[in-house]
């Protein structure tokens, strides 16, 4: 029942209504913007944490420490023969000490330990062809004679995964609550619009206006508020994230925090936020219309 003339009329009506309640509309849009920005921020964080965890997992190496007096070459041959091993690197006790000194940043502290007094064992760094094989492979390596210790930092990886999944649940929960609050505000705003036009709506009914003709302006109004809020939040978020990513990339100290910049990963988040805001506006006004417009 909606034709071009009706559509023009409805657009004008929504615009007039928005203008009449401009402050309330702005507050509503603002709340939508804030809740979507928080949700978007969480999503961006989750994507980055996800990439970080994957990075850690992909770089997992099994540290294999040899027993005192074990034949390094023989152990090396056995390691290479295991299924799932991609590469092995030998780290002599001297190299081990150098690496330790470098990471501590103070070679003098360890200077007395060089030569005969070096307490470190010879070691191998083993890289697996597949992250999933790491645990199994570590078990197998522990059974090789001459191996004192084999470890891949499983505690760290597991703890990281646990923390991020907790964090995700918490953040999504907060976002959902905020979104519900925003929808409630839309319902209230639209209700005010409906009340402001209740006389007009009554007359429209007597003039034979279709239900959709009466409802459509309110739906448009809600959708616009949602969309404006979503637009503001995505714009703000994109700006802040862009700045942050640029800073992190330049900062030498943050070399381990490579921010996600791939557009195919970021675009779905921003488009999703826009869609969600629009949807929230639509759903909010539909609830309001259902409740307050008995046409």
């Amino acid at each position: 029942m909606i034709n071009f003339n009706s559509l023009k009329y409805c657009l004008r009506q929504s615009f007039v209504s928005l203008k009449r309640n401009i402050w309330l509309a702005l507050v509503t849009s603002g709340i939508i913007a804030v809740s979507l920005a928080i949700l978007g921020g969480f999503l961006l964080l989750a994507v980055n944490v996800g990439q970080f965890v994957t990075g850690v997992e992909e770089n997992v190496e099994i540290g294999v420490f040899l027993q005192e007096g074990a034949e390094a070459k023989k152990v090396g041959e056995q390691l290479s023969a295991l299924a799932g091993v991609e590469s092995i690197t030998f780290v002599s006790k001297e190299e081990g000490l150098e690496i330790l000194a470098e990471s501590l940043g103070d070679a003098i502290l360890l200077s007395g330990l060089a030569g005969e007094d070096n307490p470190l064992p010879d070691a191998y760094r083993v890289k697996a062809t597949d992250v999933a094989l790491v645990a199994e492979l570590t078990e197998a390596i522990r059974n090789i004679p001459g191996v004192e210790l084999a470890d891949y930092g499983e505690d760290l990886v597991n703890r990281l995964l646990k923390v991020t999944s907790w964090l995700n649940t918490l953040l999504v929960g907060i976002s959902v609550l905020l979104a519900l609050g925003a929808v409630f505000l839309i319902v209230t705003t639209i209700r005010l619009s409906v009340l402001a036009r209740s006389e007009e709506i009554g007359i429209m009914k007597y003039l034979g206006a279709s239900d959709w003709f009466i409802r459509f302006p309110f739906l448009l109004e809600g959708i616009s508020m949602g969309w404006i809020g979503a637009l503001a939040s995505t714009a703000g978020l994109a700006f802040i994230y862009g700045k942050l990513a640029a800073t992190l990339q330049q900062d030498a100290f943050a070399f381990f925090l490579r921010p996600v910049t791939a557009l195919e990963k970021l675009l779905p988040i921003f488009l999703g936020l826009l869609l969600l805001g629009t949807l929230m506006g639509g759903v909010g006004s539909l609830i309001s219309i259902r409740k307050y417009l008995k046409v």
């Binding site: 003339n5 009329y9 007359i203 003039l207 034979g208 239900d211």
Partner: protein, 227 residues
């Protein structure tokens, strides 16, 4: 043709019927006064015709169709061929005379060109040419009601329903308005008017349907307000 068949209407929360076992027929092109004291059921009859309310019992036929059974689209079509005039005019205060009348076409999705063409004609017909840009508050009661009539007429209804259209008007203005209704009726529109204006009813000598406590007590072709 309008036909009420044993229609009873009881509003929720009330034990007394607003209309009780009412049967009547109104032919196309008739001019009918609905009279009776307040609470006799006149407004209920009008609401049932517009299908703003559904009968508790009985059936109402319009041109052979039971209006209680109309689907959404058909109901809209039914309502669009009824022009409504109210005691309190129900004009939009913030709109001009032109805009108030144009509103009836806007809600039906008519084009601006059609609106520009038809509104002045409708206003001329009710004697309000030249008042296009006035706001309702600047008009007399009689003029405001004429705007209401123009708004009802502009969609070319087959029935004009008026609930106490002269309730807020003085006698002279009431009479002029009734003459306008008679004119509209002469062009073929069925006119049904619920009214307390006994002097007008007596003078017009039209069909009178009298209700009392929801029952039909009198139906005369050339009737008067009182027995």
């Amino acid at each position: 043709m309008i036909e009420f068949k044993n229609v009873t209407k009881i509003y929720p929360g009330s034990d007394r019927p607003a209309l009780s076992n009412l049967s009547l027929q109104i032919d196309n092109g008739e001019f009918v006064f609905l009279v009776g004291p307040s609470g006799a059921g006149k407004s209920t009859l009008i609401k049932l015709l517009f299908r703003e309310q559904l009968p508790t019992k009985g059936e109402i036929f319009f041109n052979g169709k039971n209006i209680a059974l109309l689907e959404k689209g058909a109901l809209l079509k039914h309502r669009r061929q009824i022009g409504m005039v109210f005691q309190d005019f129900r004009l939009l205060k913030q709109k001009t005379v032109f805009e108030n009348v144009a509103f009836a076409l806007e809600v039906l999705g008519k084009s601006p060109a059609e609106i520009q063409e038809k509104v002045p004609l409708a206003l001329a017909k009710v004697g309000l040419a030249g008042k296009e840009n006035a706001f309702p508050a600047e008009l007399s009661g009689g003029e405001q009601q004429r705007v209401g009539v123009a708004r009802a007429l502009i969609k070319e209804p087959t029935i004009l329903l008026a609930d106490e259209p002269t309730g807020n008007l003085d006698r002279g203005t009431s009479w002029q308005l009734m003459e306008l209704f008679a004119e509209i009726n002469e062009s073929g529109t069925t006119v049904i008017i619920a009214t307390h204006a006994w002097d007008v009813v007596d003078r017009m000598q039209k069909r009178v349907i009298a209700l009392s406590e929801g029952c039909l007590v009198r139906d005369e072709l050339r009737g008067s307000y009182h027995d």
